[in-house]
Symmetry: none
Subunit: 214 residues, 4 copies
Amino acid sequence: MNTHSFLVLFGRDRRHKINKKEKNNKYHLILKAAVKVFARQGFYQSTVAQIAREAGVADGTIYLYFKNKDDILVHFFSYRTKQVFERFRAEVNKSDNSLDKLRNLIRRHLTEFQRDRDMAVVYQVETHQNSRLAEDQIREMSQMYQDLVSEIVETGQQEGRIRKDLYVGLVKRFILGAVDEVINTWLHSDKNYDLVSMADPLVDLFVRGIGTSD
Amino acid sequence: MNTHSFLVLFGRDRRHKINKKEKNNKYHLILKAAVKVFARQGFYQSTVAQIAREAGVADGTIYLYFKNKDDILVHFFSYRTKQVFERFRAEVNKSDNSLDKLRNLIRRHLTEFQRDRDMAVVYQVETHQNSRLAEDQIREMSQMYQDLVSEIVETGQQEGRIRKDLYVGLVKRFILGAVDEVINTWLHSDKNYDLVSMADPLVDLFVRGIGTSD
Amino acid sequence: MNTHSFLVLFGRDRRHKINKKEKNNKYHLILKAAVKVFARQGFYQSTVAQIAREAGVADGTIYLYFKNKDDILVHFFSYRTKQVFERFRAEVNKSDNSLDKLRNLIRRHLTEFQRDRDMAVVYQVETHQNSRLAEDQIREMSQMYQDLVSEIVETGQQEGRIRKDLYVGLVKRFILGAVDEVINTWLHSDKNYDLVSMADPLVDLFVRGIGTSD
Amino acid sequence: MNTHSFLVLFGRDRRHKINKKEKNNKYHLILKAAVKVFARQGFYQSTVAQIAREAGVADGTIYLYFKNKDDILVHFFSYRTKQVFERFRAEVNKSDNSLDKLRNLIRRHLTEFQRDRDMAVVYQVETHQNSRLAEDQIREMSQMYQDLVSEIVETGQQEGRIRKDLYVGLVKRFILGAVDEVINTWLHSDKNYDLVSMADPLVDLFVRGIGTSD
DNA sequence: CATGAATGAGCCTTCATTCAT
DNA sequence: AATGAATGAAGGCTCATTCAT
């Protein structure tokens, strides 16, 4: 007996809630199917019919949950990706040490993107597009990430673990860019290596650079 | 015997020369127009008619120089972008010192992408797509870039300027990723700052990292 | 034996009455809502969902009272409009004098159409359509109207008040057409004048024409 | 050898003109086909595919000549119907006598609408619609017609042939309405009688009315 | 070589209708 | 009886590509 049947048997009066959940389920069902299709073929190469087929619903059903095709992408960013980025913050907060914060962030980043490859692909593509359909959502997430790095750098500088002569704006791009590229390479590879194992070497590069100390 | 066969028999040489030149001109004309349109609207959002209008030719003319719409993008990568990447090599060769090589590479990279913004946009988008129309070309260029970094790292290690305990494969992504992100941010900004000025601080980060030495 | 059969056996009368009344209520509710929506947007531009919303019922409920969308229009004509046209007859019967009959008819016509603007619009549109969904109903009403005019003319001819050298078939169209156009103009105006006030001048035109007597 | 090949052989220098005409022809071809389909099924029941088939062109070709489906109707009114209404004016100008002017107008009206039945149907439907796609064009034509009637009435009043105690605004609707209804009835009949033969009896009704003189 | 009118496959979206609840 | 989520057929429109001139 699983959680669901438990609710059915003992939680009858929660009927409305269950319905709510089922409705929610279809929303998520379509969203997940859409991201899968987008990941495989790209947004513009994907058809609503393909998404519907992937989700196992009729074409028209899509429009009960999303305004139009574009809207699916917007929802993906404002729901799924935002969710992931909020986990990043939680991870950073787990430690007080700046370098641990950084390591936690990178590890989590790679972990989440490895776990949900479809999300990773769509995220990569869309954030590098010029005319971004989910412009606002992307900007918001980017800001969230940069704030985390800012916080890490500031903490590190106070601790004396991070250099004080840094242009923080550049550090943000430096870190995000490197992580993105590691993910991007993984996505275009055969993916038969562990993405998360890149975290520690990467952090090492961030902190110590490639140069010798002298 | 019609007009055409007359020219074929008696006007061959002259005709061929003129055609060659015109063809070349129009080929580049269309290519440039296409990249401009792609940069503005994305590949799939751009229409052949728009490219033709931008180039000042008829729609049908496009098909005298390119097999189809996809082919334009392939040509862009195999012609224009390859050209740029070859300049990177030349730049790296200008110095014997590994860190100078690196600095030269990054500077040239930023210089070229700042100079031709349309190319930059199309390059960014296309290299992050999953289903890459110009798969082969992109792979080739990526390889070219990575070879440069490999060479720099090896040189540096021999010189004692670059750490020996590095996973070179990761260093490549580390560097390319950071540069890409700096460019990407610039492309999505108001572009009223000098991209090339990011080169030296970036190289400094690559070499020394963000950590304090102790 | 279930709840339903219990009611069938012991509660027949009461149940039927209630149902009949509720059904009737909802039937009229939907019909009125439909006409309102049709008047605003035209039949084909109106959706069943809009009608349902306007009536405050669920989409599916419509189909408990009407076979399909077309059927609503048919019912409108066979119920509402027919009702109106029957009042015309009553009005004509109120007088024995042919010209009074005519005046009463025109007045009533304008009065009813001014009172129920939605009906007026739908009637106007539908009677001028080529492929009439409510073909039979419209034909029947048209016949009803023409019979009234026939009767008026015949009475008038016997009284010596109406010319005997008339092609009665044409007179019918002459009168109905003029009234229709007066209504049509009113419907497309700002409607801030009294439609009924047109009755007497109109009857005057019907009777005396625009020419001088000599 | 047919007409076409004759032109090809001997009429070469008219090449451009022929093209121009053919182009024009396709515009008219589609317009005519569209009106035919609209007349048969109504605007909203007609599909672009049907129009294309009727015109013998591809669906997409429609959009080379018209912005969208609505635009076809607008063009119909601003081109074809306007043309007809301008002939009305010419006809009215043919005589100086007010009653002859009126007779000429009515005759021409019935003649043109009998000649082009498709136009007649579309005109009837569209002018009685509430939400008129060709609102402006219809208003303009209506005005044109009313101006003609105004002119006729004024002339007649000066001549002493038309009563001076008339509300001219009503006379316009009185006349147009009756004519419209005569046409409307004809359109919904088997059309095996001559519409134009209604002109004289109708004018007689307009001028003398149905009443006896005393 | 160059043109651009014509094509028609394909896609997004709407909406009348059904049916499980 | 009533609901409204789900369906899927159908239609307007776009646009890459062709080909007669």
